[in-house]
Symmetry: C2
């Protein structure tokens, strides 16, 4: 930078201003500086800049699993909102390992991002609260509360009612839920399902699963082993639902003829004609956008109250649900 300054015959701070596109520089000087930059092949060092400036105008985004297409939607939303405010987005993604997530988080914090957006974080709530003491955190669809933590969530109660009413309305009574792992962070979907079932006078039927296709497959294996089959399955998310469908298909069972299947997320996957999954649309793109906006708002005002944005959901009925076999045929 000193070289550029000398070559352009100006001071270093002038160069700094030009680099950052400040309007306080005369055109003549600016041109001279730009030319010197070009000639010398100078490149701005963002690390040094961050160190000096403290603010980095960068959002850190943690995506827990790149294999789940819903996170691509969240990412798009975050990037869209961040760019509109002049922020960059830096990503880290974990291959699903919960224990590594805290490490990834640390990594992001340590890079001095101005705020953190977490999508799918299932790690330690206390670790998060500690981070939130000094860096704004927005958690998407994971209810971890604490000072400095904002939340973007969906209305799980309403969603579960939509799903259960839809299935019960078709005549289903044996409706199983392939749940996410037990964790404070996402106990709500499971609880909402149980409530919605109870409200309809139906017995909740929980099968432990996970957040991947594997969980869905494992659930089907459980049904097969016990010989106890539901007429409809509500999976924790689309990916898991697709796992259920795949396993059913491999066993020669047809969806929705033999079993109806519902997912959550309305990902690209659910929209494929050959999948055509009935699912809860959760507006992942909007979730990302809201999260980024909240993060940026809190950067501006770190002391503000924690807020929770609730994203409305919608049931998208496609081809994987219909009346149970005993009634339908």
């Amino acid at each position: 930078m000193a070289d550029v300054a000398e070559r352009a015959g100006v001071s270093r701070s002038l160069v700094s201003l030009v680099v950052r596109g400040s309007p306080l520089v005369s055109d003549a000087r600016r041109a001279a500086v730009l030319e010197a930059i070009e000639e010398l092949g100078y490149r701005h060092n963002a690390i040094a800049s961050r160190l000096a400036a403290k603010s980095t105008r960068t959002l850190g985004l943690l995506l827990s699993d790149l294999h789940n297409p819903v996170f691509a939607d969240v990412h798009d939303g975050v990037v869209e909102a961040a760019r509109a405010e002049g922020f960059e987005v830096l990503l880290v993604a974990g291959p699903g390992d919960v224990r590594r997530e805290s490490a990834l988080l640390e990594r992001l914090v340590t890079l001095q991002v101005d705020a953190l957006v977490l999508a799918g974080y299932a790690g330690d709530g206390d670790a998060l609260r500690r981070i939130a003491e000094h860096t704004p955190v927005v958690a998407v669809n994971r209810r971890i509360d604490g000072p400095g933590i904002d939340l973007v969530v969906t209305d799980e109660t309403a969603s579960a009612v939509l799903v259960v009413d839809h299935l019960a309305g078709l005549g289903h009574r044996r409706i199983a839920h392939v749940a996410s792992p037990r964790s404070d962070a996402f106990q709500y979907r499971r609880a909402a399902y149980e409530q919605a079932m109870a409200a309809r006078g139906l017995d909740p039927w929980i099968v432990e699963g996970d957040l991947t296709a594997h969980g869905g497959r494992a659930a089907v294996a459980t049904f097969a082993r016990t010989g106890d089959w539901p007429s409809a399955v509500v999976a924790h998310n689309d990916v898991s639902a697709v796992g259920v469908m795949s396993a059913l298909q491999e066993r020669g069972l047809a969806v929705p003829r033999d079993v109806s299947v519902v997912g959550y997320d309305d990902t690209d996957l659910a929209r494929l004609p050959s999948i055509a999954l009935t699912t809860i649309e959760q507006h992942a793109h909007d979730q990302g956008r809201s999260a980024a906006r909240m993060a940026i708002a809190r950067i501006a005002d770190p002391e503000r109250q924690s807020r929770t944005v609730v994203i409305p959901t919608r049931l998208v009925v496609r081809a994987t649900t219909r009346e149970p076999a005993s009634i339908g045929t």
Copy 2:
């Protein structure tokens, strides 16, 4: 850090050594420092550390499109190899906009990552060569050459022969290729297809597409408009192939009864039982791993010759290809 040093009764450099896990510190001192760190809630500032240390032990990974599941595989491979060598991986991902890709790249470079791995980069080759003057670059499946640039590619010629032989062997002669956009970076697949067709005495039939499902859909729209239907379609990748399949299905055409479809990548998508796409397995995970290893090797020896790793491919025959209708029925 000064506070920690004072509290522990040591110098700042001692604290620095402890933080970085150096073995040159006595246990007593180390314990004292660790305790002081704990008590003071000190957190290491990676930005400052990077600035001072120059090396960041971080690989920057550019993923052009998070919606394409193949990039999740590449990412996993990169992370696996990077971690084995004690490197972290920082991601940026673009929503497919070629022009933004150069900006994303700049961003990564500016963050002083030690090397860059690009998956799906379709941007400016010259911009890349300029970056490679000072930062090692490894391009995955995009042939952009230059000093300091290493390549991980697949054998396109062999792949095209596998595909064309498979289809021709089934009796297909009207085999269309839904190609990627024209670009130096990935002209090879298209050229390999043309050669393989010519070698079989078949007429190449190129339909312009893109790297997304949309390109596949558009291709089908073109067939419908002209009324000129191929008996088999070879798409540039799985995502595009699924676009072809979706559009066919929406028009009431069945795969493979009416049209056979082949993709490239062998993504999770291709493996779904309801898709069961015949595709070229390209070992994206291995590509990522090789790329990370090459990047790290070049960090150690920046002057070494540019290398190209060729990843072997394999045809995975699933349910989307069979003999053309006129012969089969």
